[in-house]
């Protein structure tokens, strides 16, 4: 049981690995960006895993209901922020990608590098 309680962290680690590998090993820009979103999503998982408390519920305090255990609200707030930051980065990166495609005619980084070397 104890190890199962750490499963979230393992998945967090594996997702980080997959994301980073995707960023580093792929030369296709869109693929790298998808890797980047996985990489960021892994961190969301780390934070949200921290907020869970046994027998708890979402931190919405209803009147008349006593002795309820509430999940930790702070990591949730942080991740709300981080999700929005993530989509902003993605949107900007995609806009750059579209412009790269228009300027170079390809979105493969290795080809772009070759083209730049020629000029």
């Amino acid at each position: 049981m104890e190890v199962l309680g750490l499963y979230n962290y393992f998945v967090f680690a594996v997702l980080l690995m997959v994301g980073l590998y995707c960023i580093l090993a792929r030369t296709n820009i869109i693929k790298s960006l998808i890797g980047l979103t996985i990489f960021q999503a892994a961190v969301f998982l780390l934070y949200i895993s921290m907020d869970k408390i046994d027998g708890g519920t979402a931190p919405i305090i209803l009147e008349g209901v006593d002795d309820q255990i509430f999940a930790n609200p702070l990591p949730q707030v942080l991740i709300l922020t981080a999700i929005v930051v993530g989509i902003s980065t993605t949107a900007l990166a995609l806009a750059v990608t579209v412009r790269i495609k228009e300027a170079y005619g390809t979105i493969e980084e290795d080809k772009i590098q070759e083209m730049d070397r020629e000029t």
Binding site: L33, I48, A58, L78, D110
Partner: protein
Amino acid sequence: MITIVFSLFLLTMLVIVAVAILRTDNLFTAVMLSGIFSLIMAANFFILDAADVALTEAVIGAGISTVLFLSALALTAEYDRSPPVGTWVPLLTSSALGGVIIFATFQAPRLGDPNAIVHKHVAPWYLERTPELIDVPNVVTAVLASFRGYDTLGEVFVVFIACIGVMSLLGRVRPRRDSIEEGEFEKRSDNLRHHLIPRVVGKMLVPFIVLFGLYVQFHGDFGPGGGFQAGALIAAGVILYALVEGGPRGRELVPEWFSSMLVALGALTYTAVGVVSMMRGGRFLDYSALSHDPIHGQHMGILIIEAGVGMTVAGVMITIFHAFSRRGIR
């Protein structure tokens, strides 16, 4: 117990989907899978008692982000043609990263441990004091909008800057039209208009999506939701309209000048609340200073800033979508 089983299942699915994304060469498939990835992630957040985050991840991760990726795909490429070489360095780097984390977290508190330090220091204060200091049922909203309102202000500016960036990148020089034949220009610009069923159903859904968005906006104090989710939902409604009726009609519904002004106005509203509270003798973003009664002031402040957030996020998402879709047909 049942949570752990659910959680195990969903987490394993997450890993499987992530690996599938890595392995596929078809970018379209990868984008679809990443939408699924976000949806599973959202379900998982829900199990972990983070309703607000689950809602946000579903709307933004599975909805908006997928649409953006697809719009970008339509303008760029369909296949990943990475050469399968040089995989050693990435493999080593990422395994090292994973190893370090697994090593580090081995003695981390297990999932749901009530004695974890995380639950002992700052968090209980929020849960205890929110009813008397701010008096809204949803503690997440209280922390987001008031206790850590400065962070949220920063976040609004992050989306604002993303919008500015996309506009300055895609709004400027228009691509040559000769790359698209004349007849196809018409066809591409009206997307699904010749398809009766999606058009009718889509139009039927739009008002309900927007209504739901407004509900989420104003119900954020009492249940999961708030400006971010609401803004994204309303934007999703408009985007759906633009998809079924074609980009030009979508831009008639919400003109670009309007959506980009909305972005700036929302950000300005939020900052203005801070400045007004300074002028009334409080600290920056101290909503208690807004009214004679501190709690009333807090309620007012939260309402206004959530409205600002909603405006900005809706404006940003619509503007970005317009920027991408217009790029495709010109």
